[in-house]
């Protein structure tokens, strides 16, 4: 056996027959395995098992010729086995008055037998017949095969619209079968029922470039249009790994926060109570005693707690380095109002206010404070507290968002892919009851499908 598996003979082995309808030469590639042969000249469907090639059907007047993307007689390696394309058909379904057609290619290997490729809008599937029956659920919404659950996607009546080459069954143009697809991307299991006979097949999504490469076809393959029923989501494998990484990063962020809160000194370097008499008039500004800011360049948090009650006080602050004359100038208002009206009790503001001054170098500092309030408000007491090297929770909050938002966007894109996939189904949207649990199930399915497709 060659590395390519059992192969057709080196040069195509064909048997020449003549069409009883038009006399044209017929090429038979499947060594008597064909049940029907279609004459390419007059489009007669012939009984290949009848020595006289009985004409079963003539459809040339009723169909439009369709050219196969993989020419019949082409050979290509599918999963390591060399196959020859021997048959081609177009099948059509009608959904809400709109026709949708796909193409099926019959592939043949003298040892391995038949295999099929399907193509719809540039999406390809590698199809083989199931050897064991899948386990269909009671309602028919899901089926299980080899431990994997497949969800019902679509059921429709498919009509054979055009045929060419050889087929291992009695093909007819106009023949209608009921086709049901169950998906677990990148795989699809299809049942085709015609009368009492049901055929089950399993397909796996193939990229168009892989098909082109396998059959060494010229040019570029037609680009896939839209999202196909069992097309693996390119985003969902990213969803899993991105959330895994996001989880690791969040643990690291939490560890970092614990470390920062443990390591940063959060040292109180100054605290003093002051009084402001707005009725007194005159120059209100004053300076505090000098205090030392130690360590590396770091932040300084200044908190004002004022005894305001339906009142306000505004404080112009300047944190001035005694040695360099460099000042950090800012103002803070502390106001607190409360009362009772027809809506009930209300309150606005609060009696404390904090501000963080970023990146203050070490040194000897003092505060210049200039309080303001309405005149004749009387005495307002306030306490000024200065702390050095205070952890900033806001950065951890921003980092949390920065990690969660991209992961959320990737998840949303993945869900959108699934939404577009299921929009083409019988359900017109993603299956489930719209609950959070249903959504989580869909994401999990999506992740699984992509993991399989990798």
């Amino acid at each position: 056996m060659s590395p390519m598996g059992p192969a057709p003979a080196g040069s195509p082995q064909v048997r020449s027959l003549n069409c009883p309808g038009c006399g044209a030469s017929l090429t038979v590639r499947s060594f008597g395995n064909a049940v029907t042969i279609i004459c390419e000249s007059c489009h007669s469907v012939l009984d290949a098992q009848d020595p006289k090639l009985k004409i079963l059907q003539q459809f040339h007047a009723a169909t439009i010729e369709d050219r196969p993307l993989i020419p019949l007689g082409s050979r290509g390696s599918i999963r390591g086995v060399l196959y020859e394309a021997i048959g081609f058909q177009r099948r059509t379904i009608q959904v809400e008055g709109v026709s949708y057609s796909w193409h099926e290619y019959v592939l043949f290997n003298p040892v391995k037998g038949f295999r099929y490729l399907t193509e719809y809008d540039g999406h390809w599937n590698d199809i083989s017949i199931l050897r064991a029956l899948p386990d269909l659920s009671a309602g028919g919404a899901t089926l299980k095969y080899l431990g994997e659950t497949y969800r019902h996607f679509q059921t429709a009546d498919a009509a054979t619209a055009f045929v060419l080459g050889e087929f291992p069954w009695q093909v007819r143009v106009g023949e209608i079968t009921r086709v049901s697809d169950f998906i677990s991307p990148p795989r699809v299991i299809s049942s085709e029922s015609s009368g009492k006979e049901v055929t089950w097949s399993i397909g796996e999504y193939l990229s168009c470039r892989d098909v082109w490469k396998a059959f060494k076809l010229q040019g570029d393959p037609p680009a896939p249009i839209g999202i196909y029923e069992n097309q693996p989501s390119p985003m969902s494998s990213n969803v899993k790994s991105v959330w895994t990484m996001a989880g690791v990063f969040l643990i690291l962020l939490l560890s970092l926060a614990v470390g920062v809160y443990w390591m940063e000194s959060d040292e109180q370097v100054f605290e003093q109570m002051f009084e402001f008499n707005s009725s007194a008039g005159g120059e209100a500004s004053f300076v505090t005693p000098v205090f030392q800011l130690k360590g590396r360049t770091s932040d300084v948090e200044l908190t004002t707690n004022a005894g305001v009650d339906n009142d306000w006080i505004y404080l112009n602050y300047a944190l001035i380095n005694q040695d360099t004359g460099h000042a950090y100038d800012f103002g803070r208002e502390v106001s607190y109002y409360h009362g009772y009206d027809s809506d009930g009790s209300w309150s606005e503001g609060k009696t404390s206010n904090s501000v963080t001054i970023p990146s203050v170098p070490p040194g000897n500092y003092y505060l210049r404070v200039e309080p303001e309030s309405d005149s004749n408000r009387g005495l307002i007491r306030y306490v000024v507290t200065v702390k050095r090297d205070v952890p900033q929770a806001s950065f951890f909050g921003i980092a949390l968002l920065a990690l969660l938002v991209p992961a959320g966007l990737i998840t949303w894109r993945s869900l959108n892919f699934e939404h577009l996939r299921w929009a083409e189904s019988d359900y017109g949207g993603m299956p489930g009851d719209g609950s959070l649990l249903g959504m989580v199930e869909n994401i999990a399915d999506s992740m699984k499908s992509s993991g399989d497709g990798e």
Binding site: V242, E283, N316, A318, A327, Y328, R368
Partner: protein
């Protein structure tokens, strides 16, 4: 591609937070005034805050 990007991005986010905390960055912004004269300690009224023209809230509901 996205996984590699997210790995680098996540490491960048963690590094940025660490650096911001180490350098004492803050989301607050204050005006910096260079070369304030030493005489301010003796005469605080000689310094004019840039916020002194701030229109104060005097409200309540």
């Amino acid at each position: 591609m996205i996984r590699s990007f997210f790995l680098v991005y996540g490491l960048f986010v963690l590094a940025a937070v660490s650096f911001a905390e180490y350098r004492g960055w803050s989301l607050s912004r204050v005006n910096e005034v260079p070369n304030v004269p030493r005489s301010v300690r003796d005469n605080p009224g000689s310094y004019r805050s840039v916020y002194s023209s701030y229109h104060h809230y005097t409200g309540g509901k």
